[in-house]
Amino acid sequence: MKNDLFNDETFLARWLAQELTEAELEQFQQHPDFALYKQLAEGAQKLPKPQLKNEGVLLQKIKAKANKSSNLAPLKNTSKTKPIVSRRLIMGILGAAAAALLLFSYFNWMTPGSTTYESAIAEQKSITLPDGSSVLLNANSEIVVPANNFKNNREVRLNGEAFFSVEEGNTFSVLTDNGIVTVLGTTFSVYSRDQQASISCKSGSVSVQNNAGKSVTLKAGDRVHIINNRLGKLTKVNPDGIADWDSGVSNFESEYLSIVSQAIENQFGIKINLPDQLREERYTGSFLHQDMETALRMVFDPMNLKYRKVDEKQWEVVE
C-alpha cells in the first residue's frame, strides 16, 4: 500500500491541493503516517509569516537610488548587488547611531536632568563629581550637576562659593550668574553671589568669561573679579591661601570688603549692611568660623570700621 501511494511522484502535492480521488484519499487515511503528514502540513500553515517592516522607508530608498543610477547611466541596466550590501551596512550603522541617539535622548527625557547639592549656613559640603573631580562647597551655596553624560559634558552651575579640584579631561565649566569659568584640569576657587564674583586659580590655569563675553586666563596664584558684570584686572594672591576656608578659617588677600562681608553673612546666616562707599575697600586677613562676633571683630577692627547690632540677624557697619 505504501509503495502504491508514494511511487506516484506528486501524490502528497495533490493531497494538499485536495486533488486526490475519493478512493485515493480513503486509502491514504488508512496509512500509518497519515496523521503525521497532516500535522506537518497544517503546522507549516501556522508558521509566522515573514514580514518586511520598513516598507515606506524602503520605497523612498528605491526611488532615490533608481533616479540616481538612471541619471548616471540612462536606460542602462547593469545589475550590481554588491554596492547595495555595503550601502545597506552604512544604513545599518546610521540606523544604529540614530537609534542610539534616540535612546540617549529618551533617557535624557526620562531621568531627572540634574542633581542639586546645597550647603546650609555654616555648613561645608564635599562632593565628588561623576568624572572624579571634587567640589568643596562653602556655606550657603548651591551647585547643580547634570545627571547624564557628565564625563563628556562637564558643566556645573554654581551659586555661592566652591573650591574645585578638577580631574584632567574634557573642558570643565562652571556657569555662574556673573560669568563662566572654564578649565581643563586644575584647582580653583569660585565665589559668585549676587552681582559679584571672585575667581582664584590655585594650580593649572582657568579661563574666566563674563556675561558680556570678555574673557581672561588665570594661572596659578591669579585672581579676578567680576563686579556688576565688569571683568576686573588680574591680581596676584598666594596660592596656598586660596580656598583654605575648609580648615575653619576664611582667608582673604586684598579682597573686596563686600565679598568678605558677604562671606561672613553666609557663614553665620546674618545680614550685614555695608555702606556702598565701603564695598570696594580691600581686606587682607582671615576670620574664624567658630564664633560670629569674633569674626566681625577680625574683619572690621583692622579696617577701623565700627559695627553694631541692629537685631538678632542684622548688623550694620558704619565708618
Binding site: E9, A13, P50, E55, S79, T81
Partner: protein, 171 residues
C-alpha cells in the same frame, strides 16, 4: 516596443501600488530561499529599482513576473547562495508561561521542530513548500513565479513532505 500603457508603471501612483501589492511576497520569496532577511530585503529592493528603471518597458500586468525573475536571477548570482539555516523570526511570544496548558506546550515544541526540519530541506523544496503553505499560492502560481512546469512544482512539493517525514524521526 510599447511605451504607452493605460496604466504606466512610470506613473508614481501605479508603481507605488505595485510596490504595496508585491513587496512582501517578493521579500518572502527570497527569504524562503536563503533564510536571511537582510539578503531578502536587498534583493527585493534591487528588483524594484530595476522595475522602476524599466518602467516604460514593462506592462503593469507583467510587473510581478518581472520582479520575481529579477530577484531570482540576482539570488543565483549572489554570493550568499550557500545553504543557510532558515530561521523564522521568533517574535510570536513563544516563551511559554507557567500556566501554559501542556497541549499548547507540545504544539509550540512541534512548531519549533518543524522550523528546524524545514531549514533542512533543499532550497527548491523549501521555496515551493513555503510558498504553498505560508503564502497559500497554488502550484500553478508557483510554477509561473519560478518559470518551471506545474508538474515540477508538484514533484518538489511531494518530495518536501517525504523529506519532512524522514526528518521528523531525526530532529
Amino acid at each position: 516596443m510599447k511605451t504607452k500603457q493605460q496604466a504606466s508603471l512610470c506613473e508614481e501612483s501605479v508603481f507605488d501600488q505595485v510596490y504595496r501589492d508585491e513587496l512582501q511576497a517578493l521579500y518572502r520569496f527570497v527569504y524562503y530561499k536563503c533564510g536571511i532577511s537582510s539578503v531578502a530585503e536587498d534583493l527585493a529592493q534591487e528588483a524594484f529599482i530595476k522595475l522602476w528603471e524599466n518602467c516604460s518597458k514593462v506592462e503593469k500586468e507583467k510587473a510581478k513576473a518581472f520582479l520575481f525573475t529579477v530577484a531570482r536571477n540576482l539570488f543565483i548570482n549572489s554570493v550568499n547562495r550557500k545553504k543557510v539555516a532558515l530561521r523564522f523570526e521568533q517574535e510570536q511570544g513563544k516563551t511559554p508561561g507557567p500556566d501554559t496548558p501542556s497541549f499548547l506546550l507540545e504544539q509550540q515544541e512541534f512548531q519549533q521542530r518543524l522550523e528546524k526540519m524545514i531549514s533542512e530541506l533543499t532550497e527548491e523544496q523549501r521555496e515551493v513548500f513555503l510558498l504553498n503553505r505560508i503564502d497559500g499560492l497554488k502550484y500553478r502560481e508557483i510554477a509561473e513565479l519560478l518559470s518551471i512546469s506545474q508538474k515540477a512544482v508538484e514533484k518538489r512539493m511531494h518530495k518536501a513532505l517525504l523529506k519532512l517525514r524522514t526528518l521528523h524521526d531525526k530532529i
